[in-house]
Symmetry: C2
Subunit: 178 residues, 2 copies
């Protein structure tokens, strides 16, 4: 049972520009049109947890970037209604993080993909992340939306694996050491 | 002719705790008592540039951590006197970064090791860094002194090499792409 982060950041730790854009990520040369293991990762997970911000960003995409078979849980105390065409796969969840996770695990959602900066930070604040894969993009953005926030807990991890893709992307996987 | 950063950070990008301590770095198991290539790196460089903060921290160490043969340049507009036993190898430099670097290069200081958080940030703000090696320590500190600061320039790099030491440390070298 794992809560898993799988994300790309700039060398200075940003997941997007201040305005949310990820052009710097999309313009990385990708001659083989590879997803660098993302679809294999998605097969492992039972569901996806994200915040309202990420959900609304994803709603604006032309294509739904997650597998249609995986349920989405949107953490939001303000949202109440899911857009009609998504109501079968998206559920709004409210309340305390620990009890949300517990009830999801009871539903068989053992391995959860935790997505979105704020959501990841809330999970880290309660030591609820078990695995982090970070892909480093060779750029300093200078400003943006950070993956990690100040005043998170001190948390030790074990290095599990590092893979370099196309001599550009450095993808490292870490497991929480408890 | 390169200005080079060679540094370790936590996964969340800190080079030290808020109080400057690096106990989390020192306690990483190191059964072979390796320096992970640091002494080989030092052979390459002609001199070391650091700020007053780093210089004063290093003065407090039991042992001088840099090779005795390499001259040290301390960037400081307030310091005037170097402690007597160090005056042969330490020089205080003042003024604008670009002209300091130019005059050091004229003295044959082609490859400079740029050390200390604030100094590295000032160099990055003027796009004066040519090479960065970052060793990632598998810990989230939650707070501390960051390697990178907000409002630095956007700067693209090329990935040169990644080496994993002891299945713990991920050391990646990047070259500025101009």
């Amino acid at each position: 049972m794992s809560n898993i982060v799988y994300i790309a950041t700039s060398l200075d730790g940003y997941i997007a520009r201040e305005d949310g854009s990820i052009d710097w990520l999309m313009e990385i040369p990708n001659p083989d049109n590879s997803d660098y293991g993302f679809s294999i990762f998605l097969e492992r997970i039972d569901g996806i947890v994200m915040g309202r911000n990420t959900f609304e960003t994803v709603l604006g995409f032309n294509e739904w970037p997650y597998p249609k078979s995986k349920p989405i849980f949107v953490l939001s105390n303000s949202l109440n209604v899911v857009p009609g065409n998504l109501s079968a796969k998206v559920e709004i969840v409210k309340g305390e993080l620990k009890s949300i996770i517990e009830s999801l695990k009871h539903k068989g959602m053992n391995d959860l993909y935790i997505d979105g900066g704020k959501t990841i930070q809330s999970f880290l604040k309660e030591d609820l992340i078990d695995e982090i894969t970070i892909t480093k993009i060779p750029i300093l953005l200078g400003s943006g939306i950070p993956l990690f926030s100040k005043n998170n807990l001190e948390l030790k991890f074990e290095h599990a694996e590092t893979v370099v893709h196309n001599n550009i992307l450095v993808k490292s996987k870490y497991l929480r050491k408890r």
